[in-house]
Symmetry: C2
Subunit: 268 residues, 2 copies
């Protein structure tokens, strides 16, 4: 292993994150030399794209990579790690929620390479703006990972496992729960044969507007206007969807509380 930079990379896992990372590594001139996936066809699909060898037997894992990126679901990682012994080869995971230390069973040199983005296999991501959060167990590993990350992104920073968990939680609200708000909106529209096109520009503008504004200051709608009559009508309509009704009620109350509190703070 060349201690001065990472050139040869092995991907353990071939899901959305591994796919987009593999493509980004390749674009920046790195060699992805091997792709492992439990599923032979999944491994082959990604290895073809990045020009790597594909394996579906973890015991065939190469010992020639400068970096091993394990990118499998959080609840599968312990199992996969139990079959890997890398000695001092640098091993990173890509999880927001898992501490770095879970990797210590498999190597002496460990770190985290967490991309704060939502990936699909099909849609390629412009990595330039993608936040990459690095953690590492030594300064030398940290430097290696920073150098690699900065070759694909301009938004790289160091976060320890605790702070990364916070960032991941924020991402759950900003991505997972936001997507669920879209889902509920769509469910309501479809129930009445109304097209998604009705709210598509709104969704776009909602995301656009906070690029230059604080989200809280952009809050509009019945809750922040304290428009109890509209809230009452909405809750009445949502009777047919008890879970959506509860979500509506709770978010509305939280917006009202936060607004009241913000106003009181202003008065102090």
């Amino acid at each position: 292993m060349d201690n001065n930079s990472i050139n040869k990379i092995a991907l353990i896992g071939a899901g959305n994150v591994a796919t987009q990372l593999g493509k980004a590594f390749k674009r920046s001139g790195k060699s992805v030399i091997q792709v492992y996936s439990r599923s032979k066809s999944t491994a082959e699909m990604l290895s073809e794209v990045v020009g790597a060898e594909s394996i579906s037997d973890i015991y065939q894992l190469t010992n020639k990579a400068d970096l091993y990126v394990i990118s499998v679901p959080d609840n599968a990682i312990t199992n996969v790690l139990s079959d890997i012994r890398l000695k001092d080869r640098l091993l990173v995971h890509t999880s927001g929620a898992l501490p770095m230390d879970v990797l210590s069973v498999a190597s002496l040199n460990i770190g985290v390479f967490y991309t704060l983005q939502t990936f699909s296999k099909e849609k390629d991501i412009e990595f330039k703006d993608t936040p990459i959060c690095i953690e590492a167990n030594t300064t030398s590993n940290k430097n290696l990972l920073f150098e690699l990350a900065e070759e694909i992104s301009e938004n790289v920073r160091y976060l320890d496992s605790d702070l990364r968990k916070i960032a991941h939680l924020a991402a759950v609200f900003a991505n997972n729960f936001t997507n669920y708000m879209y889902t509920i909106a769509l469910d309501i529209l479809e129930k009445h044969n109304l097209p998604f096109d009705l709210i598509r520009p709104l969704i776009n503008e909602t995301a656009e507007i906070i690029k230059n504004n604080r989200a809280y200051e952009m809050q509009t709608g019945p809750a922040i206007r304290n428009d109890e009559e509209t809230v009452r009508k909405h809750l009445e309509y949502l009777k047919a969807y008890p879970e959506y009704q509860q979500i509506y009620d709770m978010i509305t109350k939280s917006i009202m509380t936060r607004h009241k509190k913000a106003n009181e703070d202003d008065k102090l």
Copy 2:
């Protein structure tokens, strides 16, 4: 009044919606002849932009407009309407939640011109894609409003008051509640001095990806993966924010239920 098209428009109200509509009307060659706002300075600000007379006394409302657009908060509209008598002049409101009929105290010719978009005064909106939902009490009024709407947008449709309420409710989820998810994410980040830049690209991509995909199918995260360990850790962390904890808990459960149901439906 030329019965064949709308040329002269009076704006009653000078908030975000009135501002963006006024600018759009002007761009499409209409004359905005008067702007009313209770606040003299607000009326003047908008009337300057659109080249109209400004009034802050409702009794000075012109009788020369082809169309009167009342765009004030829902809970203020009844008060303002009580001071307006337009006889047969065409009057529309711009509210998602109010039925058209609230206008009948003020005119015989009424309708709705509901733009399904989030507006600020500062940021001009590309109206071409903005959905405009029209309602009217006669076919002739409907035709007049359609013609006007189609001059500023390619996304115009007729929705009666009941369907408009549904669309508005969907918009509350897609915009108001989505913005609140951003707010919570930001609150969590700021508490730990983490920058919004960490999730900005994620928010962007979350809105981007559903342009070509169904929101539900794009759902990712601990809830849909049934990752109970991560959910437990997040709820534990959120103890310090009881309302955010409840929102997290409820949305997570709803995602899990909906996912289970969708899987069962697949099996039928």
